[in-house]
Symmetry: C2
Subunit: 161 residues, 2 copies
């Protein structure tokens, strides 16, 4: 039995206690951008209920074209107004450089990726740059509340940058 | 008080009951790719504990360069082996076309985005294409278990495509 099959068995139990359909637009009008890290359970960390907030996640919780695409849809079509960025301590993105990872992919596959790995060497600096990138992007409509945080994987606390 | 401030107050309560640091590599060796939709609480839907799985999310739960970037890091640096794709019923991405959204952005901002909005008109077709795109990408290392599902926002159930 694969892990995926075990997760499907978990889903059957979840569906039994499921309370039914909610509206599509997020009730709290918030979009969260967070790292994909396994230790970040975003709804629990922020006390979000089902239906409350869009949650966008990728390696690092960085702002890429895909993050902007998701936020443009979130804000312009589904009414979110605030953005919460979450990076975290002990992040894998701190452990390599873009060039190292691109070279390892080239060694393994014979191809160099067209995309940038988006590694970073300092959490606070990357949070600040991510906020700046969102504030300067024309497709992000609502920029009044773009705030960035570092989640501490040892304490469970968010620290604002 | 902004919604972000309320979420920070929730985080203080979360941190009080926090049980401490877990290892960086996902314990269940799974990466999930799901839509950002507010009604999808991925850890609850799949019965994932903290530390179990990478969770990647964007508008639609689609496979973009950023999804491949995150999965390449997840598999090659942090040891995940299975991929679970989740689209869902009543998805916002079914309600517009790429051209309509790009034109609305151009009307609002004077710029047309360089990225594709990634709208789709059929859930199952897009899940199948997403699986295919991952299977054919050289940077995705582990392709033996790439499975795709549609989450029913009315019942809480996952249906395999």
């Amino acid at each position: 039995m694969s892990v995926t099959d075990e997760l499907l068995a978990n889903n059957a139990a979840y569906a039994e206690g499921f309370s039914g359909a909610l509206p599509m637009p997020p009730a709290r009008k918030v979009a969260v951008v967070a790292c994909m890290d396994a230790r970040l359970h975003v709804p629990a960390i922020l006390g979000l209920d089902e239906g409350d907030a869009h949650i966008i996640r990728n390696a690092g919780g960085v702002v890429t074209d895909d993050t902007v695409r998701s936020l443009a849809i979130s804000q312009r079509l589904l009414g979110t107004e605030e953005i919460v960025l979450i990076h975290h301590t002990d992040c894998g993105m701190l452990t390599f450089t873009d060039d190292e990872f691109a070279r390892s992919l080239e060694d393994a596959t014979g191809h160099r990726p067209a995309w940038t790995p988006e590694a970073f060497s300092d959490l606070d600096t990357d949070v600040r740059q991510s906020i700046e990138r969102l504030r300067s992007d024309p497709f992000v409509a609502n920029k009044d509340s773009v705030r960035g945080f570092v989640f501490d994987v040892a304490s469970g606390e968010l620290r604002e940058v």
